[in-house]
Symmetry: C2
Amino acid sequence: MTETVDQRLRSAWTPASAEAAALPPHAVRWLTRRLGPLEPGAPVAPDTAFAVPDSRLPDAARTALADVVGASYLRLGPAERLGRAGGLSYVDLLRRRYPGVLPVPDAVVSPADPGEVQRVLDVCVAHGVGVVPFGGGTSVVGGVAALRGECEAVVTLDLERLDRLVSVDPVSRLAVFEAGVRGPDAERMLAAHGLTLGHVPQSFERATLGGFAATRSAGQASSGYGRFEDMVQGVHLATPAGSWRLGVAPASAAGPDLRALALGSEGTLGVLTEVTVRVRPLPTRERYEGVVLDGFQRATDAVRLLAQHGLLADVTRISDESETAVSLALKGGFTTAALRRYLAARGVREPCLLILGWHGRAPQRRRARALLRAAGAVSLGRAAGQAWRHGRFHGPRQRDALLDLGVCVETLETATHWSRLGELYEAVSTALRDSLGDPVVMCHVSHAYETGASLYFTVLTPRDPHDPFGQWERAKRAAGDAITEGGLGTITHHHAVGTDHAPYLRSEIGDVGVAVLAAAKRATDPTGVLNPGKLGL
Amino acid sequence: MTETVDQRLRSAWTPASAEAAALPPHAVRWLTRRLGPLEPGAPVAPDTAFAVPDSRLPDAARTALADVVGASYLRLGPAERLGRAGGLSYVDLLRRRYPGVLPVPDAVVSPADPGEVQRVLDVCVAHGVGVVPFGGGTSVVGGVAALRGECEAVVTLDLERLDRLVSVDPVSRLAVFEAGVRGPDAERMLAAHGLTLGHVPQSFERATLGGFAATRSAGQASSGYGRFEDMVQGVHLATPAGSWRLGVAPASAAGPDLRALALGSEGTLGVLTEVTVRVRPLPTRERYEGVVLDGFQRATDAVRLLAQHGLLADVTRISDESETAVSLALKGGFTTAALRRYLAARGVREPCLLILGWHGRAPQRRRARALLRAAGAVSLGRAAGQAWRHGRFHGPRQRDALLDLGVCVETLETATHWSRLGELYEAVSTALRDSLGDPVVMCHVSHAYETGASLYFTVLTPRDPHDPFGQWERAKRAAGDAITEGGLGTITHHHAVGTDHAPYLRSEIGDVGVAVLAAAKRATDPTGVLNPGKLGL
């Protein structure tokens, strides 16, 4: 362990010090011009500003847990516990600035391997202690909040030590990883075998394979490599009901595919300790490029055709007019007016930027380009693609800088079938505008399928210094209501449920679905110690 | 209803009268030469040979069911009930020849629409009557046997009247079908919109979309169109706990994907009443061709490379040496010795026939051919492909003719990852040979994935006239043990569990998996009326 999770998380909360986390001067100028006078809000509070209650972990449980993992891996200090008090949502970031009551765990326990995870669970069941599985801590939906539920005490089970590549089967293109392996480490270990996983969500740098599986993550290259759930061939979970392994074949008809219950279970049914994933050869050539289309409707139509012809680039991401304008303005690399004239001369009056990232696949690229030309696309060449690629993990890091400026900044996402995509786009945009006054609302489609696509919204608006929490809560509720009204879309395409989306789950999976989830939980976790309060369970 | 289910099923049980169900004389000669003297077994017994017990359906339930569906759709006659007494496994076919006790339902009830299905379920719950959902009746694993479980009586719920295309969304490429629509009818209705589903399992002609979903069916063109579960975007089930709809988006992270519980639930958790499926444009051009490779290991290696390079034909099916030899012998279209000389001169000494069916996709075909040439493949041209295509649904129909001859004929299938495929092939082949003396054992791979493939075995051996049931039971058990020993493969790749594979389910999904399935069932079907005894539930 060269870097502790505390250090990792703390660095995410450090205001705009690192290069990538800073906002360039022209971006700050643009923001103040667009959003009007901003009132810089509270800075990130020091740890000492937070009242960390004494650990409620009973002595007997403390002894038993230390017996399993060793005393040095059962941590009770306020800093370690505070470091796992939440994830990385806007509300999580706000909480660091407006000290109040944080959901701080009573201890942090770090088992060494799957066997120790099982024994930690057994101890927690025996002592009625809640368990919050913790990977990278990057949840943006409250997924790692240390809620107690009905339990006396709650520990955060940090999977940081489950960091091994267990085995590689290059013939079957399979790799078995322990669940605590982070994205970059997985890629580094696979690269030694000439292989890649190809899963690069925005949380890539910190998040873990177990977390990807537990939350049904989708990466930026999902069009080429699939969602994480598509990659998972096998899972191993520790549950209060015992160890659970699934996945002996690439496909099966041996009853319902129960792997699908583990995927997306967000630590409520068991703790993922190992995942077996499909891997692929490292691409010999990557090519990122930008293309502009005229208007979001035409642009999404073009992406739909790419998806339905099997011609999506590995990364395929189309921004609406607003996001395109903002990203060009914030990049500062283009003379915006000159670019607009250039595009208008080619028939593009409402530019929408399409990023295409090709990992090999030259034949598909040629056919995709022909299709895009027919749709009136204008190429911006590789520079635009490389610029996006360079900054593709920066978004989360820049949020603290925006918060320093007094901006309310958050994202939310959904998905629906193609024929309802325009309606969903309008409904969510309107809900956000109506509840926030005159915000900047931007949107992109970053995950396209034959039958539909995701919509990913980013909102920027002056933070209400008097009610920063309520301001976003109302906007989020308006958007959630707009999404679920009449089953227009899913409440989340890849951010998961956690606490934030739990109120909407029933409208999406029905009373029967909620009953089935609760029943599954009773089977694997009869005393309800696993991640209390998540998924509404 | 131009043809009743009774008629449909009866025709499947009629010995070798129809053209496609007959065995050509050269095939009979080959069989008697290879298997030795055969003792023609019992012919199919007339209905009158079977003792059909009086219906045990209580009068109150009878009245209530007739109130829901109308008296003419509640059928109590022996012929109708006998017609739903089983599926189409070898054991089912044997039972028609050796009259004994059949699992005959107490009534056949045919609701008109999803609403009536729900009301039928409600009546059955109220009266403690078991319900066996019934589509095409093509289960080969005992999935439609009218077992009572703990119930006083059991009815077969025939979905034949749920035969409508509900809606088509050509933009999103989605179609909503009622669950009782049969394969050819679905294709006919979609063809009117220029669309296709592309799901063609061997049961295609009789089986229903609800059945495909409930059993996780995989069609012959699964390499191009996916397994049926890949096509399903939404489901609507009637359950004792109420109506259950799932699937608002092409992808989601709103908790576990509960559609996966409906898929493969085999009528134990609910009755599928509607499925929303992904559809595609009808291919403008289909091209079937045959290619021969030298030895099954080299042949499966080539298919693995096709799968891992994204170059599988829509239909990709490779036969082992034995199946290749038998199919060439049974076809009678080739001069076998001449063909062997031709192939040997090109380096192919152990011919394995690879069928490739391309639905459009000319660019992939060119690249696949280059890869196959490098693997030493010799083309047999289109004739071999067309011959396979022509006869691709004949297998099940010819079984009665084989039974008439005194042959024991059955199939079984499994799947595993590529690196264990050879081991699985040997283990199952050996188990079948050891338990059956000197049978013909043939095998093909008809479903290939990046990480592994299925194995589909066909067995032919002289039927033991003294113990026809025990003969196959022992062979099936030996094969099942070989598959599950050490988690070598899945007990079923696409035939489902039913009763026959239930004993192996625990070894595949673990104690926790069994407990989770049972818990899900308690949530949707608290009194246990749904398809008693299937999936081990």
